[in-house]
């Protein structure tokens, strides 16, 4: 069992992608875990990560100066916010659940429904400047003025980008944030330790692992690799319609939450969302792309049923019959004991050290 799990983990583990920068940056990773690929134009450095960390927790990056990246991606919550749907700086209610920022340096594609966003340097611009919906609400000019005017930030940029004569720019801000986010690596859960032969899992957790890896449940078809968010062969991530809704008998999802369709315009992409990581589930509830899975048990029940039937409220419909549902979401029989075992295993993917690691915490929290 451990061999199979390890194979699944390593099959799409990190590799040195072409065009990435070699670095002597100390990632602090356990033996056997490679660092994520790093873009050639944004090599890692201690100074850049420190700057990125400071920016990540800087409230001035938002229009109301009351919101930082680290607020909506709170370390204690596995770098999520605990809401069903995220809330922007102007109070905008987003259509999606805030994704956990964990192991994102290993991801091939970021965000719930945009496969074209491939790098963290590109992605961080979305919450900073996006207006549908507004997240941070700043303009590039405002941020550059902040970077230039603040002596501490100014010095931080000079240290992080020593070869750049005018380093206090938005592209460099994105590079620094991305560098910090690449360090948010969680590979020390009980499951990881068990894989490395350093710890044990309970009988229930091992039975849950068996179920997770079984053909009957088929979880690993989408949830494999270091981040448990990719197919086992390391190919492109899956954008799956789980059959959560069918508002009109034709597969419609609630407005604004139509998934990949909103990026591609292809009706067949209705309700398709990127497979999320299974890391740190203990702290990242609620689940699903719109936070409508309140508990892990709820999520397991939906997948076991082959989709969700909503019998009340504004979204009445039988998601199981959604014509766009992923063909792998066929449902499976699960006894109450098996359900408990599966959830027990899923919780072994949570890494307590990650959510308490001082390297990832707000550097000035104690001063506030």
């Amino acid at each position: 069992m451990r061999g199979l799990a390890l194979a699944l983990l390593c099959a799409c583990g990190p590799t040195s992608a072409p065009g990435t920068a070699a670095s002597d940056f100390d990632w602090g990773l356990p033996d056997g875990v490679d660092p994520p690929p790093v873009p050639a134009d944004n090599p890692m450095s201690v100074e850049k990560v420190a700057l990125g960390r400071a920016l990540f927790y800087d409230f001035r990056l938002s229009l109301d100066e009351a919101r930082s990246c680290g607020l909506c991606h709170e370390q204690a919550k596995g770098f999520t916010d605990g809401f069903p749907r995220a809330v922007g700086a102007l109070g905008d209610l987003h259509h999606h659940n805030a994704q956990p920022i964990v192991n994102v340096g290993y991801r091939q594609a970021l965000t719930w429904n945009n496969p074209d966003l491939r790098t963290l340097e590109e992605q961080v611009l979305l919450p900073l400047f996006g207006d549908e919906p507004v997240e941070m609400g700043r303009t590039a000019d405002e941020l550059e003025a902040l970077l230039v005017d603040d002596p501490a930030l100014n010095a931080g940029f000079e240290q992080a980008f020593p070869d750049d004569p005018e380093p206090w720019t938005v592209p460099n801000l994105a590079r620094a944030l991305a560098a910090f986010e690449r360090t948010l690596i969680s590979v020390d859960s009980p499951w990881d330790r068990w894989l490395r032969g350093e710890g044990s899992l309970s009988a229930s957790e091992l039975r849950g692992l068996d179920l997770f890896e079984s053909d009957r449940l088929g979880c690993t078809a989408c949830h494999s690799g270091l981040d448990l968010a990719d197919p086992p062969d390391g190919s492109e991530p899956v954008y799956a319609n789980l059959g959560l809704y069918d508002l009109d008998g034709q597969g419609s999802y609630p407005e604004g939450g139509e998934g990949l369709l909103r990026t591609t315009g292809d009706p067949a992409d209705m309700g398709r969302f990127r497979t999320p990581t299974l890391r740190n589930l203990a702290w990242t509830a609620p689940y699903f792309h719109d936070g409508t899975g309140a508990t892990l048990e709820d999520v397991v029940d939906v997948l076991a049923a082959g989709g969700r039937v909503t019998g009340s409220g504004p979204n009445i419909g039988d998601g199981r019959a959604n014509p766009h549902k992923d063909p792998r979401i066929t449902g499976f029989a699960l006894s109450p004991e098996e359900r408990s075992d599966l959830v027990a295993f899923l919780l072994t993917l949570s890494d307590p050290g990650f959510v308490e690691d001082p390297r990832f915490a707000d550097p000035v929290a104690d001063d506030r």
């Binding site: 009351a66 916010d81 605990g82 809401f83 069903p84 749907r85 809330v87 109070g91 209610l93 609630p254 609620p286 719109d290 936070g291 409508t292 899975g293 309140a294 508990t295 709820d298 909503t310 019998g311 009340s312 409220g313 504004p314 979204n315």
Partner: protein, 197 residues
């Protein structure tokens, strides 16, 4: 700190509600107005009382609350056009129906044909007091991760004859809250939440 801010937990509420005097400037006035409901469920307050009527219903009495700008905002919303909202019939699905506090919008919540209706309120700020307005005939609860929040519920002091209540709740952290309406009053339950501070 107003006494209502001290009562973050039900157990604490009981102690606070009995021991804390009403605020001198914005607390309840000494006028008791009675409204009739059709259930035995009442809010947990010290300023409301419930008695059984000859017809089997109950009479809930609320003290009249503060007549301030926030209470007036609740009255203004009550006189406006509410947005329709459909509640779900189980807590697990509450995340499918999400609203936020608003000084510009109230809701007419269609309750399901079951005992309770649910939806989610996302409070996206820290250290805020939110004013909840609802028909006095409807009982509701506010649930966060730590459990039910209970504060005193008053008749809206800015428009006490409209039959709507005013309940101020303090939230020290941003949080989703599950709103649970008991189906003991009108099936279409008017509801509004306005940030006080």
């Amino acid at each position: 700190m107003p006494n209502r801010l001290l009562c973050a937990l039900p157990v604490v509420l009981l102690a606070c509600a009995q021991d804390e005097p009403a605020p001198a400037t914005s607390g309840p006035q000494d006028v008791i107005t009675e409204v009739t409901t059709s259930s035995t469920t009442t809010p947990s307050t010290t300023t409301s009382t419930t008695t059984t009527t000859p017809t089997g219903g109950t009479t809930t009495s609320f003290a009249i609350g503060p007549n301030d700008a926030i209470a007036q905002a609740g009255c203004d919303l009550f006189l406006g056009n509410p947005t329709n909202l459909v509640a779900v019939d189980n807590q697990g699905d509450a995340g499918q129906v999400v609203i936020q506090p608003s000084a510009a919008e109230s809701w007419m919540v269609a309750l399901p044909q079951t005992e309770q209706g649910y939806f989610t309120l996302e409070i996206g700020e820290w250290d805020t007091t939110q004013a909840f307005f609802a028909y006095a005939d409807n009982s509701y609860g506010v649930w966060v991760a730590d459990g039910d929040i209970q504060y005193e519920r008053f008749l809206n002091g800015a428009c006490p004859n409209e039959g709507i209540t005013d309940q101020r709740m303090f939230f020290d952290h941003w949080t989703p809250a599950t709103i649970r309406f008991e189906v003991n009053g009108p099936r279409d339950a008017w509801f509004a939440v306005v940030k006080e501070s």
